[in-house]
């Protein structure tokens, strides 16, 4: 089992015929993801099978609007590859068309636009992952994102991370140690993101196949601290954490829009402390992430049943944001 996506998940691609969209759609098709349509305004009614050096293994139908794609192709999820000025609009269109899972890869969406999107999300049943994220993958079943598929393996560790290549690094360390993953979720590096650590951890906590959770955080904000409080209260599975940016100077944005220590808040030291207080194993060296997960798994009580029927972590499960919001409102 997995969270959010599996081999049955039907996916459309917003911005499929652009450069990035074309390349990554071909890669997702190669991985076996069920791509059931693409959306490019003005190209509806055609089919698309790549351009330049990129050839899809099968042609994909193109629709003018998300609504048209939803009516014809019945997608469970959409992935968005549109440039920053149009990204928020694309997410809002997907929310309006009631798509349950929306993944936005785009980097550079203005905060003002995301404030609007975040508000619209709360009034909907949609879940957003990203923006500025690599997407998510359930190894061997479904990849909705831009991560290299081959480094992943099917297994029992849930991975959630704010980063891209650092996640690939951690996943490869796991796979090299024969530790597979249930699902890996890249939640994104921006200040406002749809799915936060706490939401992903809640999903993994309720997923019976997930035996351990790896969270990869970084400086900026307080999402790691909020998640740590949740872990302390509700999570019995081993949780392993890594926080990037111990050597980052305050007041500087470290690549990701959200990775900034401001007013002395959001330091790696504070986050590490919060995680440790919640009983999370914090790895200090990024070279030791795989080994730490291996150790945590071998120390965990064997074959313990996690009972939480009815919450299978499928698409469309009610969002887990309300509690997180309250907690964070208090903190800030």
């Amino acid at each position: 089992m997995s969270v959010l996506i599996d081999k049955k998940t039907r996916v459309i691609v917003q911005g499929m015929t652009g450069g990035e969209g074309t390349y990554h759609t071909s890669q997702m098709l190669e991985y076996g993801t069920k791509i059931v349509g693409g959306v490019t305004p003005g190209k509806g009614g055609t089919t698309f099978s790549g351009k330049g050096e990129v050839h899809f293994k099968k042609p994909v139908k193109v629709y003018d609007t998300v609504r048209a794609a939803v009516e014809a192709a019945k997608p469970d999820a959409t992935i968005i590859f549109v440039p920053p000025p149009a990204a928020a609009d694309a997410i809002l269109e997907a929310i309006d068309s009631k798509i349950k899972l929306i993944i936005c890869i785009t980097e550079g969406v203005p905060v003002k636009d995301m404030i609007k999107v975040y508000s619209a999300l709360k009034d909907s049943d949609s879940r957003l992952i990203g923006p500025n994220c690599p997407g998510l993958i359930t190894p061997g079943e479904c990849k909705i994102g831009i991560m290299p598929g081959f480094i992943h393996a099917k297994g029992n560790v849930g991975v959630v991370s704010r980063s891209g290549t650092l996640t690939y690094e951690a996943v490869k360390q796991l796979t090299d140690l024969n530790i597979g993953q249930t699902t890996c979720i890249g939640i994104g590096g921006d200040s406002i993101i749809g799915t936060q650590f706490i939401d992903a951890i809640e999903l993994f906590n309720e997923d019976r196949e997930t035996h351990a959770i790896l969270m990869i955080g970084e400086i900026g904000g307080s999402a790691e601290e909020t998640a740590a409080e949740y872990v302390k209260k509700y999570v019995k599975k081993p949780v392993i954490g890594f926080i990037a940016g111990r050597t980052a100077p305050p007041g500087r944005r470290m690549g990701h829009a959200g990775a900034i220590i401001s007013g002395g808040k959001g330091t790696a030291a504070d986050k590490t402390k919060a995680l440790e207080e919640a009983g999370i194993t914090v790895v200090m060296s990024p070279a030791d992430i795989g080994k730490a997960v291996q150790e945590a798994l071998s120390n965990a009580p064997k074959r313990r049943r996690r009972r939480k029927p009815g919450t299978k972590g499928k698409i469309g499960r009610p969002k887990a944001t309300s509690k997180a919001d309250k907690d964070m409102a208090e903190m800030s």
């Binding site: 905060v111 290299p148 690094e169 904000g221 307080s222 999402a223 050597t247 990775a259 200090m284």
Partner: protein
């Protein structure tokens, strides 16, 4: 993106946010002349002279000679980042202060020991202050809403207030659908203990401030202090404004507000090539793809006994030119004693990156050890390319080995 106080005030004027009459100058002559013509001649005999630097804490900041580091005085009085000047010969005194400030360094709690060079000054009319407040608008990342904060504790560090007496900070979140409402302005005004004209003046002030923040795509707008003058009106005595970098494409005019003297020269150079480079004080340069991996690599360098000389994310499209420029910039830092390249090939193929590194090193001369770690897509082909290049790389198989090599190189 950060801008200067005088630029922020110019923008606030567009939204009718009350600010004082002021004038920015770049030389001491200009300062003296402006003091006379724009202020004294207009009947204003108290002028506030303020260093225009991005760092905060100017009021308590000290001014140091650019070469000798000597603390600057005018007569018996120590020159600060903000100076209130009045008396008989105001224009001349302003000139005296300006001579000691411009081109010299200011050191504040935010600049650290290295300080920042003062390139411009703001002259502003003095005003009678009845009371000082704080007003700020910032994104609350947890709730995804912009939040207004006000406090009766004006003119002091707001972080300190938040720490020591959080109850003295009043907050109102802006509902994205409804926008800022009048009752919220009233609630804040009452909370600050205002009444009568001051209360009315505050309501107008804060409403306009919110409009400016939203229209300008700010990521931070801080008025500290916001003052109630002895005339009973609210005025922004200082203004700190940052913009959302993701929204800069909507405001082409902001490019003119950029002051590159506030940025490290190497960062300015890197930005020309769209390289995400941040200069640090360490001895091991690093070049990485991806921001998270770059931060983790910096951390690893420190754990291995070195210290990171920079943050550098070369991004996904790591082609020869990009890598060559990245190398050149990284190596222009004289502190760099070794270089670590850490690439995790996902979409980007390691053999392509290796090719780029080899070609780049033919263009740029490198006199320090170079450790290369390639992993992920086509890593083997990439490493083979490096080995066959005839260049002296230290090739690491994984993150752990890379860390060990850093330790060895730093110790040598």
């Amino acid at each position: 993106m950060k801008i200067h106080e005088h630029q922020a005030k110019d923008l606030l004027r567009r939204f009718n946010v009350p600010v004082l009459k002021s004038k920015v100058v770049y030389t001491a002559d200009e300062a003296g002349k402006s003091a006379f013509e724009d202020f004294v001649n207009m009947g204003c005999n108290t002028i506030v002279l303020k260093a225009q630097v991005h760092a905060g804490g100017r009021g308590k900041g000290s001014i140091h000679d650019i070469t000798t580091d000597e603390i600057q005085f005018v007569g018996e009085k120590q020159v600060r980042g903000v100076n209130v000047i009045s008396g008989n010969d105001v224009a001349h005194t302003i000139y005296e202060y300006a001579v000691r400030m411009l081109g010299n360094k200011i050191k504040t709690i935010q600049t650290g020991e290295s300080g920042t060079i003062i390139g411009r000054l703001l002259l502003e009319e003095g005003v009678g202050i009845a009371k000082e407040f704080y007003a700020g608008i910032v994104l609350d990342r947890g709730t995804g809403k912009n939040t207004i904060m006000v406090s009766t504790e004006g003119g002091v560090e707001i972080e300190k207030v938040a720490e020591e007496s959080p109850e003295k900070i009043l907050k109102e979140a802006i509902d994205p659908k409804l926008g800022f409402q009048n009752y919220q302005a009233r609630r804040l005004g009452i909370g600050l203990g205002l009444s009568g004209d001051a209360f009315k003046s505050f309501n107008t002030f804060i409403t306009r401030l919110v409009r400016a923040y939203e229209s300008l795509d700010c990521s931070l707008l801080e008025i500290n202090p916001l003052v109630l003058t002895t005339n009973g009106t609210m005025i922004a005595l200082d203004a700190k404004m940052n913009f959302d970098d993701n929204a800069l494409y909507r405001h082409a005019e902001y490019e003119d507000l950029r002051d590159i003297t506030e940025e490290a020269p190497l960062e300015v150079e890197a930005s020309k090539f769209d390289l995400n480079y941040i200069k640090l004080d360490g001895n091991v340069g690093c070049m990485v793809n991806g921001a998270g991996l770059a931060m983790a690599t910096m951390d690893m360098i420190q754990m291995s006994g070195g210290s990171p000389a920079n943050f550098l994310d070369v991004g996904g499209g790591a082609n020869v030119d990009r890598i060559a420029n990245a190398f050149r910039i990284m190596l222009s830092d004289p502190n760099v004693k070794a270089v670590l390249i850490n690439i995790f090939g996902g979409i980007v193929r390691c053999d392509k990156v290796a090719e780029g590194i080899v070609q780049a090193l033919k263009k740029v001369s490198v006199n320090v050890p170079v450790i290369v770690r390639l992993d992920g897509t086509n890593a083997r082909e990439g490493k083979l390319l490096l080995k066959n290049s005839g260049l002296a790389f230290k090739v690491a198989e994984n993150f752990e080995q890379a860390a060990k090599l850093v330790t060895e190189v730093v110790a040598a």
